[in-house]
């Protein structure tokens, strides 16, 4: 039976073999162990002894040619065998049924070591933290990032106290007490001329430090512009008087500010372009209207949030605002972070007009003064005395242009001067 001799693998790195010389001629008898041919491997020219015995029937690969490993290079057989048997042997070799065929079992499949097995996971957008997602390069420790995400804090709005401004755990923890960008009420120190009272060095509290950092960065980062307008409060004030006169047992007393909050919320719903936040490479237009109110405390300033303000009636606003202020005064935990717009009202202190610093990452803040009786030239040209309230809108010019702000103030003014407009 004709036997195919294949190109042997003669080194651990050999990939093909060259036929250097045949030492047997076709028709010659070959004993097992006889020098059959010389093969060039990648390392050396090697003598190759015949693994079988028989007559050399055919040389498949001539001297000087190359052959793939385990491809036929010659065929040995018995006396009397010819082309027919050789072709049959080669065909059988090719079909893999020869003795020289590879063992039939499968090679071990490349497997992943169990300890490194990974399940394919897809990045899932975190909907709740969407308002925090920001591509702005903010340096923060991994822990601070995780804490900020869970609290819904925009890292860009947090000033880092670590190296190179890295936001770290303590910055997120103290972020709670930072808030409104409105002006901080200043207590005028007595300045007696020629006073010899010594200066005092006061420690910077955590809250004070945070306010300092946040407001500095807000004023530095956001290009502010200001729109001022005053409104006639006579209708609103009589509305308020009427409401409080008719309040039932358990109803809250409605303040001017509660009415302003309601009007602002309704105006924001009508002007979503004000309910926005600059995010560096994109602008976030908030879906909800969450009005924050600036509240001064003994230690500083905070901005508790009235969620979904535009959906609330004025009495509901009064109740929630009352609760929030109570909690702030008692140092209890409230939501300071989800506000989309802030109102700072210093009217109760007799302030007629002022400007406020935007509370990042919000896009605008409204500074509200006292309603003061003033002579006013009415539409018909006559002079009458009206309770006028001044409002100043501070806008982040990166997201809000002058006309947009002006239109918002126009709507807000109409709501305040004609409260029935809020109902339609």
């Amino acid at each position: 039976m004709a036997v195919v001799v294949e190109m042997p693998k003669l080194s651990d790195t050999m990939e093909e073999g060259g036929i250097a010389a045949w030492h047997k001629k076709v028709g010659e008898m070959v004993e097992e162990g006889d020098l059959l041919l010389e093969i060039e491997t990648d390392k050396a020219t090697m003598e190759y002894e015949s693994p079988e015995e028989g007559i050399l029937l055919r040389i498949v690969k001539d001297a000087g040619s190359k052959s793939a490993l385990n491809a036929p290079i010659c065929v040995l057989g018995e006396k009397g065998e010819g082309d027919k048997e050789v072709d049959a042997a080669l065909a059988a070799f090719g079909s893999g049924s020869s003795e020289a065929a590879q063992p039939s079992e499968e090679k071990p499949a490349a497997a992943t070591p169990p300890q490194t097995q990974t399940t394919q996971t897809q990045a899932v957008p975190v909907a709740a933290a969407a308002s925090v997602a920001t591509n702005k390069k903010v340096k923060a420790s991994p822990l601070a990032k995780k804490m900020a995400a869970s609290k819904g804090i925009d890292l860009a709005s947090v000033n880092g106290s670590g190296p190179n401004g890295r936001v770290i755990k303590r910055d997120i923890e103290s972020y709670n007490v930072a808030g409104s960008g409105s002006a901080v009420s200043a207590v005028a120190a007595p300045m007696a001329a020629g006073s010899v009272i010594a200066d005092q060095t006061l420690p910077v509290s955590m809250m004070r430090g945070t306010i300092a950092k946040r407001l500095t960065s807000a004023k530095n980062d956001a290009p502010h512009f200001y729109l001022n307008r005053s409104v006639n409060m006579s209708t609103l004030l009589s509305w308020r008087k009427d409401l409080n006169a008719k309040k039932r047992e358990g109803d809250p007393k409605v303040s001017v500010n509660d009415l302003v909050v309601m009007a602002v919320a309704k105006a924001l719903r009508a002007h979503p372009a004000i309910n926005v936040s600059w995010q560096g490479d994109h602008i976030l237009q908030r879906g909800n209207v969450n009005v924050a109110i600036a509240v001064g405390t003994d230690t500083g300033l905070v901005t508790p949030v009235i969620p979904n303000t535009d959906l609330l009636g004025v009495r509901q606003i009064a109740v929630i605002a009352g609760e929030l202020i109570g909690k702030v005064k008692r140092n209890e935990q409230v939501d300071y972070t989800s506000g989309t717009f802030t109102i700072s009202n210093l009217g109760m202190f007799g302030i007629e007009e002022f400007t406020a610093i935007i509370n990042p990452p919000q896009g605008a803040i409204l500074a509200v003064g006292a309603a003061v009786a003033r002579p006013w030239v009415g539409a018909d040209g006559t002079i009458e005395v009206q309770p006028r309230m001044s409002m100043t809108l501070s806008c982040d010019h990166r997201v809000i242009d002058g006309v947009v702000g002006a239109k918002f103030l126009k709507t807000l003014s109409s709501f305040l001067e004609n409260p029935l407009g809020m109902l339609v």
Binding site: A144, S161, K169
Partner: protein, 326 residues
């Protein structure tokens, strides 16, 4: 309970195990007649005789290999390296043979041997006698690596090491042999692969072992006075490592400093750092900082030596860096 030095506790552990199991024997340079270069084996020759306590020739490769062969056929050798600097001569037998025997033989031949001795720098012994080998050996699969910092752990872990069916590297320190603490009497076994909390804290975790453990404890004490609360973990076993203990502590403190002897490149500390960032990334409030000896051979002169080795001050500086309180 008795107050014992580390050398006494290690000697006690060996004596108890030799009484318990006749297959346990001790071999090494000067371990018999001389009672041990550092007197760890004091009294063992007297109690167990020359058949079980062998003074070896100065042939670390040879007697390390002898230990491997004896262990393959069922004995339980304790091979003492006078110092692990000499033990490096036996690394071929430890790495190429002891560590791989079980694997190459597909579970047929295990090597229940302990290779023990002092590791790391002592004092003014210069470049060839001051090296740390834990990272070189802990990287090799098949070996267990233990490094002790006190007498009680020394006893409990050496007894466990002698009973372990795998080759165990046991690292001590010349500088610490005289340090004493309360050691439980008799049967006292500490499981291999369990770290110990030396001191609890909340602001930062310091992982240390062997000679850096007292440095870490000293640093923690000083930091407490400044209002920084450090948790100190004694790793005790390098391989297999108690990652769980480290992760748990970092989850609490959010900051990690690793304090180790030896050079700072590709070490146990770098491994811990890598694992913590892999598994605890979102818990970290600061990069992990490693403190080690400097990347130079050990100088001889005292002030030069002091300049390049790890100190409590260097650990304190690292802690301040990660707690942002520098």
């Amino acid at each position: 309970m008795a107050e014992l030095s580390i050398r006494e506790a290690l000697g006690q552990a060996m004596a108890e195990e030799m009484r318990r199991d006749p297959d346990v024997f001790l071999m090494g340079e000067e371990v018999a007649e001389y009672d041990g270069a550092y007197k760890v084996s004091k009294g063992l020759l007297a109690e167990f005789g020359a058949k079980r306590v062998w003074d070896s020739p100065i042939s670390e490769a040879g007697f390390t290999g002898l230990g491997v062969g004896a262990a393959m056929v069922g004995l339980r050798p304790i091979i003492e390296m006078m110092t692990w600097n000499f033990g490096i001569q036996g690394f071929d037998q430890i790495i190429n043979h002891a560590a791989k025997m079980l694997y190459m033989s597909a579970g047929q031949f295990n090597v229940p041997a302990v290779f023990r001795g002092p590791n790391g720098a002592a004092h003014m012994l210069a470049a060839q006698h001051s090296q740390s080998v834990e990272h070189m050996l802990a990287t090799v699969p098949g070996l267990k690596v233990i490094s002790i910092s006190n007498a009680a752990d020394g006893k409990g872990l050496l007894k466990s090491a002698i009973r372990d069916d795998n080759p165990v590297i046991f690292l001590e320190s010349e500088m610490m042999y005289a340090q004493k603490c309360e050691v439980p009497d008799g049967e006292y076994l500490i499981p291999i692969g369990k770290a110990r909390i030396e001191r609890e804290g909340t602001d930062v975790t310091i992982v240390a072992w062997n000679k850096t453990l007292p440095l870490a404890a000293e640093a923690a004490k000083a930091l407490a006075e400044e209002g920084i609360s450090a948790e100190v973990i004694d790793l005790r076993t390098i391989q297999p490592m108690d990652e769980e203990a480290i992760f748990k502590s970092v989850a609490k403190t959010n900051r990690l400093v690793v304090a180790e002897e030896g050079w700072p490149f590709a070490t146990v500390g770098t491994h811990i750092t890598a694992r913590v960032q892999e598994e605890m990334f979102d818990e970290l409030d600061a990069p992990v900082v490693r403190v080690a000896n400097d990347f130079v051979s050990m100088p001889y002169a005292e002030h030069l030596e002091h300049a390049v080795v790890i100190t409590a001050e260097k650990i304190i500086a690292a802690v301040k860096k990660v707690t942002y309180s520098a």
